[in-house]
């Protein structure tokens, strides 16, 4: 097993987890945070080294053959190419900053060792997911990430609803995983292999474009991606996943895990190109999730839930890009999104800790002078989120996506994208004004204790803030070579028109929100109190009622059937022989009435029957 930087990059988190897991309480909070942050830091360095040493193309490293039975030969092998390196740098880079911030965030919490063990295991699984050269190893990372998100969401396990949120997250993502598994089975049956490179090579030969198998395979893979990236049908777990600590939300539900679906579709782009209408479906789902989440984010009171819906909508943008065929743009947006969304979450974390775990916007307010760093992070992150022209990283990546959509003549999607941009502007401004301006809603907010330690509080926020500006966009290496021809590369006309449109949308959103929340606050409040407005606000608050629908359609019947079946009725069939035996017994006992004469009669009856049989039997007689 050659010790290349790539192998090192995912061994460090594994070692970190093992040390922390098997320390069993011997490590104090400081020691465990040092190990936890250190291992991810080393992984980041190893990734950096790998990036430097990477000469383009795909370097494969096969550790050992996992299973070898007939032609089912998945190996534990790593394939390092541009895409993998970009993902690795995001995971380890942003991951390291989040681990650093978590050291500050989790001071004073019980069980920090367990926290960092889970976080390191998460980074390890994510690295495996990204590096795996065959679909089964990818699936290993895929499920590992699910388990770690269960562990981390349910970190405060004392609270029953936290544990229930973790349970829900795992089960919903597991449903997606089952779709992916079925996709794997179909791919193996049809193409005879699981190795990603061979799959992408063999698929076009064996499957005609738009053929039933290609569509089915793409659909199943899409199902898996939806589960993990929390898109429309399987998205209900993301808002509840905010029950975990904020660094967890930052790492898992902003930067890495939710982007796994995007990575999977980008990685198997050959498969999707064979099924154009499934590609369109991806785009449509992206657009729908984008709008749905944007509207929902408008009506949230908890700042973390606003950010959760914002993540869902930004990932909607990435699916939107994938659907249009702009794989490179999707990954570009994934990277920038990782930066500014992590920044937003960490700043929110800073606010929450400073205000003694107060998350409700109503109770916050007037903090911008007292928590300058957090306020700065929110402003820069918000700007990137809204894609403030020329300054923020978000502008470049989102503009690229919209441009690709326009070039691919998907006008319907384009309009949805622009509308989404406007809505994003509105809820971001609402979030920032609600949290930092106006009157402090509670005494927690009146005198917050701002984070002071430079290394673990200010450094991550500042670095992420820098990355969220145009510098972040500039760092992105561009993966043109890896992906097939994106629609926008050939078409030239209309690019500037689109940029104007995109800028207009962003600024319009900002202006509208500013006017509404600053000037017309009272008018806005009474709209949301009366009839139609209140109804709409409640509908958006509960994210268009998906959660309630699933609960009534799936969860309640399941619980009912479990209660009904607790009394194991199939088992009753097996009691039948016992009942029959007991019935016979009761019948025969009555014949033992103790009177000798009745016994005599029975005996005589027996002999007569035998004699009659002898007499009447055909050959009877002598």
């Amino acid at each position: 097993m050659m010790v290349t930087p790539v192998v090192l990059s995912f061994l460090f988190p594994l070692m970190g987890t093992l040390i922390l897991a098997f320390s069993a309480g011997r490590l104090g909070p400081r020691a465990s945070s040092v190990i936890g942050v250190g291992s991810v830091g080393l992984a980041a360095l190893a990734t950096l080294w790998a990036v430097m040493g990477h000469g383009g193309g795909t370097e494969g490293v096969t550790l050992w053959t996992w299973i070898a039975v007939g032609d089912f030969q998945p190996t534990i092998g790593l394939a390092v190419d541009g895409l993998a390196l970009v993902m690795m740098s995001v995971i380890t880079g942003v991951g390291f900053l989040i681990h650093l911030f978590a050291a500050w965030y989790m001071t004073g919490e019980a069980g920090i060792t367990r926290f960092y063990a889970w976080m390191n295991l998460f980074v390890f699984s994510m690295m495996l997911l990204v590096l795996g050269d065959n679909l089964l190893l990818l699936f290993l990372g895929w499920e590992g990430v699910g388990l770690c998100s269960y562990g981390l969401i349910g970190y405060y396990y004392q609270g029953l609803d936290n544990a229930r949120a973790a349970f829900k997250a795992f089960v919903v993502t597991r449903i997606g995983d089952v779709f992916l598994a079925l996709g794997l089975f179909l791919i193996f049956m049809e193409l005879g292999t699981l190795d990603i490179a061979t799959v992408l090579a063999r698929a076009p030969e064996l499957w005609a474009e738009g053929s039933a198998t290609a569509n089915l395979a793409a659909l199943l893979v899409l199902g898996g991606a939806l589960g993990k990236s929390a898109q429309v049908p399987l998205h209900t777990w993301l808002p509840d996943a905010m029950a975990g600590p904020t660094p967890v939300s930052a790492l898992i539900h902003a930067a890495t895990m939710v982007t796994a679906g995007v990575y999977l579709i980008a990685r198997l782009n050959g498969l999707f190109l064979l099924a154009p209408d499934v590609m369109l479906l991806v785009g449509v789902i992206g657009a729908v999730s984008l709008l749905l989440a944007a509207f929902a984010a408008l009506a949230q009171t908890d700042i973390k839930r606003v950010l959760a819906y914002s993540t869902m909508s930004q990932i909607g943008y990435m699916f939107f890009a994938l659907g249009v065929g702009a794989f490179d743009a999707a990954i570009f947006h994934l990277v920038t999104h990782a930066f500014f969304k992590a920044l937003l979450f960490l700043s929110a974390g800073a606010v929450i800790i400073s205000c003694h775990h107060e998350q409700d916007m109503g109770k916050l307010g007037g903090l911008w002078r007292k928590l300058p760093v957090a306020y700065g992070g929110f402003v820069v992150g918000g700007a990137a989120l809204v894609a403030l022209p020329l300054v923020s990283a978000g502008f470049f990546s989102k503009d690229e996506i919209l441009w690709q959509a326009m070039a691919a003549e998907r006008t319907g999607l384009l309009i949805a994208g622009l509308l989404g941009a406007v809505l994003t502007g509105i809820y971001t401004v609402r979030l920032i004004l609600g949290t930092f301006h106006g009157e402090p809603g509670s005494d927690h907010a009146r005198h917050p204790e701002p984070g002071t330690s430079v290394f673990t509080h200010h450094l991550p926020l500042v670095v992420l803030a820098v990355l969220s500006t145009f510098i972040g966009a500039w760092i992105y290496p561009g993966l043109g070579g890896l992906f097939p021809e994106a629609p926008g590369d050939t078409v030239e006309t209309g690019h500037t028109l689109l940029q104007v449109l995109a800028m207009g949308a962003a600024i319009a959103g900002l202006a509208l929100a500013g006017w509404l929340f600053l000037m017309r606050r009272s008018w806005l409040d009474n709209i949301t109190d009366k009839g139609a407005g209140a109804g709409l606000w409640k509908l958006w608050h509960h994210a268009w009622g998906f959660d309630a629908l699933f609960d009534r359609a799936l969860v309640r019947p399941w619980q009912w059937s479990v209660r009904m079946l607790r009394f194991d009725f199939i088992n009753l069939f097996m009691n039948l022989p016992a009942l029959i035996a007991r019935a016979f017994n009761a019948g025969l006992v009555r014949s033992q009435n103790g009177r000798t004469r009745s016994y005599a009669v029975v005996m005589v009856f027996g002999t007569t029957v035998i004699l009659l049989a002898l007499a009447l039997a055909p050959g009877g007689g002598a």
């Binding site: 009669v601 005589v604 004699l611 007499a615 002598a622």
Partner: protein, 179 residues
């Protein structure tokens, strides 16, 4: 000689019916003795004098006398009222029908049997019987003797008036034993 056979046969059957339907034990025993003697007569009619003699001496003489002793000892009176209760057809209809069916079956078997021998009356002397008894059948005779011995022991033990089993068991029911 046939007339003697049929006549005594008839007497035997009638006497047996008398035994079954009799209410007083003494009449029943006497009917039984008559029936046994009638059967002995049949033996003589058939030409088996040794069997007939044995029948009279052992069967009628010994066993029936034993019965009479017991009947006398327990001085059983005809308890008419209990006997009457079961004369109601529901009691005796079932078993007697069964007996009839059995008889029918036996007769059917006999008719099918194709037994064509005819008894022409020449005697089977006691000597011949004695020779076979102590010839090939010697073992069986010894066994019969042992059987009698066993019966003797059992009867004496079970029949004893004051046997330990009885005293312990019936200590509580009829105090003071029987007269």
């Amino acid at each position: 000689m046939e007339i003697a056979f049929y006549l005594s046969g008839l007497v035997a059957v009638l006497a047996t019916v008398g035994v079954i339907t009799g209410t007083s034990p003494v009449h029943a025993v006497v009917y039984l003795i008559v029936s046994l003697i009638a059967v002995a007569m049949v033996f003589f009619a058939l030409g088996a004098p040794f069997a007939g003699a044995l029948e009279i001496i052992v069967y009628a003489g010994a066993i029936m006398v034993l019965f009479v002793f017991v009947v006398m000892m327990l001085n059983l009176r005809p308890d008419a009222e209990r006997e009457l209760t079961w004369t109601h057809p529901r009691y005796w209809l079932g078993p007697s029908l069964l007996a009839l069916v059995l008889l029918g079956a036996l007769l059917a078997l006999l008719r099918q049997g194709g037994v064509s021998e005819v008894i022409d009356g020449e005697l089977l002397t006691a000597r011949a019987v004695g020779l076979t008894l102590f010839g090939p059948w010697l073992m069986v005779v010894e066994l019969a003797a042992i059987l009698l011995l066993a019966a003797l022991v059992t009867a004496s033990h079970v029949g004893r008036r004051s046997n330990p089993l009885n005293r312990k068991m019936s200590g509580n029911r009829n105090r003071g034993g029987t007269p």
